[in-house]
């Protein structure tokens, strides 16, 4: 992703003027690397296919109704994952609402020279450490530290703004809002790293031109630099959305696994990933098949989001070159 990899474009093939893999070992080696390179694409297809294979009985049984039904009853063998799909999307969008403004703010802070490089570099490294902390540790921290600390504040919000449907239930200890908050912390590094890369790699003439026309630093940032970096920032947000959709452990530990939709953010909810993590142990037959169906839905959702993100980011890089 680093745009300034200025290594001259010369590969081994061009170095040896004509590529004749005459020797057996050369030929075998060439084909080996070629096959493995194609293998990456094959793995993606294989993953989708293997999920599809196990999900098939459930797909035959429920079809698209699976996405609109709100029952999850292993006793009667009737399954529908609407609450989970709803919870997955709403928690991810809530997480973006928290993370995007802060993430873009930090990216601007790290790409400008508010502070000397010597101070900014460690800060950037610390932000990247956020990405290195495992999901399960975020869950642990959420259960024992964040929830006890934030509940009083949520109770206050409920007492004052309880008339807004989103805050209409008293905050429970496992709920959507806190989960979204933890998800937003987890996706911050993605937004910050890619947005910052984009901002740093903008042509310096943009800034010089804006300053030359008499713009202040912040007018330059808001009216010139951010719009110019918009596609990179949008790409980073899409990637972060993909992360948030598929996040498992933190959600499984914090969201409360309620099998119904509640409009209030302070009520327990569920996500597809949390559903799978919590039920997989005792599932078999049609229930297991349905869990794989849900996983397939999640896979297609994240694939779509990630491919779009890839496309947006790669377009930006082409413009740059």
């Amino acid at each position: 992703m680093t745009p300034q990899s200025a290594a001259p474009e010369e590969s081994l093939i061009q170095a040896s003027s004509k590529f004749h893999p005459t020797r057996l070992i050369d030929r075998v080696f060439y084909w080996l690397t070629l096959i493995l390179a194609i293998g990456i694409g094959a793995v993606l297809v294989w993953i989708t296919f293997s999920l599809l294979n196990i999900a098939l009985p459930s797909i035959r049984e429920f079809g698209l109704g699976f996405l609109t039904q709100s029952v999850w009853n292993p006793v009667t063998d009737s399954f529908g994952a609407f609450p989970q799909v709803y919870g997955t999307i709403v928690s991810a969008i809530l997480a973006l609402l928290f993370a995007v403004p802060i993430g873009v703010g930090v990216a601007v802070f790290l790409s400008e020279d508010f502070l000397p490089r010597k101070i900014l570099t460690p800060i950037a490294f610390l932000v990247e450490l956020l990405a290195a902390i495992p999901s399960v540790v975020y869950g642990l921290w959420g259960i024992f530290v964040l929830i006890p600390a934030i509940l009083p504040l949520l109770r206050w919000i409920h007492s004052v703004f309880g008339w807004i449907p989103f805050f209409s239930t008293p905050p429970s200890t496992r709920q959507m809002f806190v989960t979204a908050l933890v998800l937003s912390i987890m996706i911050l590094p993605t937004i910050i790293a890619i947005s910052r890369d984009t901002l740093v790699s903008l042509p310096p003439q943009l800034r010089q031109g804006a300053y030359g026309l008499g713009a202040t630093r912040w007018e330059t940032i808001l009216k010139v630099l951010l719009p110019a970096a918009l596609s990179g920032i949008i790409g980073s947000v899409m990637l972060a959305l993909g992360r948030a959709l598929g996040e498992t452990m933190a959600a499984a530990m914090l969201i409360g696994n309620a099998n119904r939709v509640n409009i209030s953010f302070f009520a327990p909810a569920s996500t597809i990933a949390a559903l799978i993590a919590n039920q997989f142990g005792e599932a078999s037959g049609l229930q297991r098949s349905s869990l794989f169906f849900a996983a397939l839905v999640l896979m297609l959702l994240t694939l779509a989001v990630n491919m779009l993100a890839e496309y947006i980011i790669s377009r930006f890089q082409e413009v740059e070159r």
Binding site: I13, A37, V43, S111, I133, V136, E219, E310
Partner: protein
Amino acid sequence: MTVPNDRIANSAFKVSGNPQYVPSPTRGLFGKVMTGLVVLCAALALLPLGSILYTLLVNGFSRLTPAVFTELPPPPLVDGGGFRNAIVGTLLTSFLGALISVPFGVLTAIYTTEFGRGNRLSQFVRFCTNVLSGVPSIIAGLFAYGVVVLITGTFSAVAGGVALAVLMAPIVIRTAEEGLKSIPPDVRQAAVGVGATNFQAISRIILPAALPFIATGVTLALARAVGETAPLLFTALFNQYDVNSVWQPTATLSVLIYNFAISPYKNQQELAWAAALVVVGLILIVSIIARVATRRKVY
């Protein structure tokens, strides 16, 4: 990269009497407010990190006795105990993941940089790598469940390794590509010029030169594998006891943290914190080493 304000102010074309252009008070104030806001953002972003590291140290350190490394996980309501089997299991599954993903990733990177640089297939491979790195870890776990657990009929460390390999491969490919690209073309020309075959040039000259990068990629991938939980829930599962084969259910630190964090027993919760401290400690040390070794940004 950036042009500092003071360099613009100190350019050679100073107008005497008006050394510096000053914007109107409102515009200046707006700038100050915005600067304050982004500093606040940075503080907000680092607050959770500080809180997590602090609580890990406080809660985990008190339980970090030698017993933790030498004993087995305790049943509910029994005091003491440790997680030696989970430490072994974590190292085992991560190692198996590396065993699969490193050769795969390095050879793929060799194709895209040495044989097919810039061609259609290489672009396609890059696209697939990026998409694969965005695949949720839980999906990798279900995949390994489908292709290993169901076929062999048992949860195992191998299945865990396969799931982790899917998550590690993109990291290895990316760093190996960067490393191979950073080697100057003269090195290739020299190798070919003295009559090396392609295989010799790559195995004796190019790969050794790119080794620091590849090593960094492997360490970063291992750091990721050590912390992964979701894929292991469906593959390695958990085990109260030591394992003596890679075809058995295997305890790992991350799954132990999950099991004990949601358990109602104080002793098990304490062990979860200790295990979390060990995991995060491992990951941070490895990440910092990788960072210092290359001083390049890889994610």
